[in-house]
């Protein structure tokens, strides 16, 4: 369980990191919290020749309010998210989801940027960021650009990041006051990736669903927005027939892999169950 050899770099600024990444080329990888990359390196499934460690770049850390958005630095850890009063107040679903990522030790190291940029379909934050309408700031040799989360994921471990680019922050519009939210994650044990998970953010008006967004984790090669399922609940009181309809619409877009977490049919089944539970719990906490 010893990783292959590599050279280690610890730049102090984003510009320096981007320059290193460009000059070192394909054999260089960014190191954030390292809790996806280092296990892969120990298994020799990843053998980068250079690691560019982002921990020395203070500008990449922290949570701040910018008008009606919350901006989270890429190197902000999940532990820091859980300690943030701003997140607990403005983005309670992010607090709730961060609690369900891995275990305490991993959350002290694991970062928001790593979780969303890695492109692992098992990561919990990508589907949530799609539901929240977040945008990612990417900085590279050609300057900075913003990409919405819903357009970032192209396949398992394939994202909109171009060579030499670094995801530096995540910007999340603050949901409406009184919105309902829930992240329902089925997992075999603490620390495991989701067998199936669903994120829901909705608003109610006169007891009926006025707006709704549903995201799915680990039920396809990329995180999914279940748009038909979300449409099916608008204007309803989430009666049983509607919940079943939403679950069926969500199942129709799922294409999970069969793995140790279960066969395809099982994972689609529980994926639908997660959608129904998340919708009900989100509605129950909306006002």
């Amino acid at each position: 369980m010893i990783p292959g050899p590599f050279n280690y770099h610890r730049p102090a600024t984003v510009a320096e990191a981007a320059k290193l990444l460009s000059s070192l080329g394909d054999e260089a990888r960014l190191l954030a919290g390292g809790h996806s990359l280092i296990p892969m390196m120990k298994l020799r499934l990843a053998t980068p020749e250079h690691l560019v460690d982002l921990q020395g770049i203070d500008a990449l850390r922290g949570v701040r309010r910018e008008g009606d958005r919350i901006v989270i630095g890429a190197m902000t850890t999940q532990h820091a998210l859980l300690a943030s009063a701003e997140i607990a107040k403005a983005l309670p679903i992010l607090h709730e989801t961060a609690r369900q990522i891995a275990d305490p030790q991993v959350r002290y190291r694991g970062t928001v940027g790593g979780n969303v940029a890695n492109g692992d379909p098992g990561n919990d934050l990508p589907a949530l960021m799609m539901v929240l309408g977040a945008t990612y700031r990417l900085e590279g040799p050609a300057g900075a650009r913003d990409v919405v989360a819903a357009e970032f994921y192209q396949g398992a471990y394939f994202t909109a990041l171009e060579p030499g680019e670094i995801l530096t922050s995540v910007s999340v519009p603050v949901p409406a006051v009184g919105h309902g939210h829930a992240y329902e994650k089925l997992k075999r044990k603490i620390g495991d990736y989701a067998t199936a998970a669903a994120a829901v953010v909705l608003t109610l008006a006169n007891g009926k669903v006025a707006s709704c967004s549903i995201g799915l984790t680990n039920l396809a090669e990329t995180p999914l927005l279940a748009e038909d399922a979300a449409r099916a609940v608008i204007g309803t009181e989430l009666d049983e027939a509607t919940l079943n309809k939403a679950a069926a619409a969500a199942r129709a877009i799922m294409s999970p892999a069969a793995d140790a977490r279960g066969p395809i049919e099982y994972r689609k089944h529980v994926g639908g169950v997660m959608v129904m539970r998340a919708l009900q719990r989100a509605a129950a906490c909306a006002s």
């Binding site: 990783p3 050899p5 590599f6 610890r10 120990k42 532990h79 891995a102 305490p104 190291r109």
Partner: protein
């Protein structure tokens, strides 16, 4: 691959060493500094036996490179006793409540519980179980580990540990 000179403060003492970048922190602690109290269990970031305190955070030292800890402050199980050498509240709790059977997970459990009690000096049972969920005990003696941490919390808070009525 050039070796890198690292310095860090481990259990209060300044230490240095020459490491390959791929050297894991747990190997640096055990093999270079000969601090073998930190155990290697699963080597796959699951079990928590290798937990150490790094700049005020509980980390699994099998999943951190020594170069990442360059300049950091680290505490291992070897520093968990009171300065005068007597057992700390946590160590006493593990002894009094039979919080260990084979003892393999114990260094990680105590170092993790140390940070948990720093952040939340009066945790309830659910918070303790959630707080140690990154540490596995394959003797499955969790009940007594939880009691050991409750004992320590009570002692730190100047109270007597009372078990809830059965």
């Amino acid at each position: 691959m050039a070796k890198i000179h690292v310095t860090m403060k481990v259990n209060g003492a300044e230490v240095e060493g020459l490491v390959e970048p791929r050297t894991l922190l747990v190997h640096f602690l055990r093999e270079t500094l000969l601090l073998t109290g930190t155990h290697i269990g699963c080597e796959t970031t699951h079990c928590g036996a290798c937990t150490v305190d790094l700049d005020g955070a509980s980390v699994k030292s099998c999943t951190v490179f020594a170069v990442q800890a360059n300049g950091a402050e680290i505490a291992t199980i070897e520093s968990m006793a009171n300065p005068d050498g007597t057992l700390s509240a946590l160590q006493e709790g593990f002894r009094m409540m039979h919080g260990l059977q084979c003892g393999y997970c114990t260094p990680g459990m105590i170092v993790r519980a140390h940070r948990l009690l720093k952040e939340n000096p009066n945790p309830d049972e659910a918070e303790i179980r959630f707080g140690i969920s990154g540490n596995l005990c394959r003797c499955t003696g969790y009940q007594n580990i939880v009691r050991a941490i409750q004992y320590a919390a009570a002692k730190i808070n100047g109270a007597q540990f009372k078990e809830a009525a059965e």
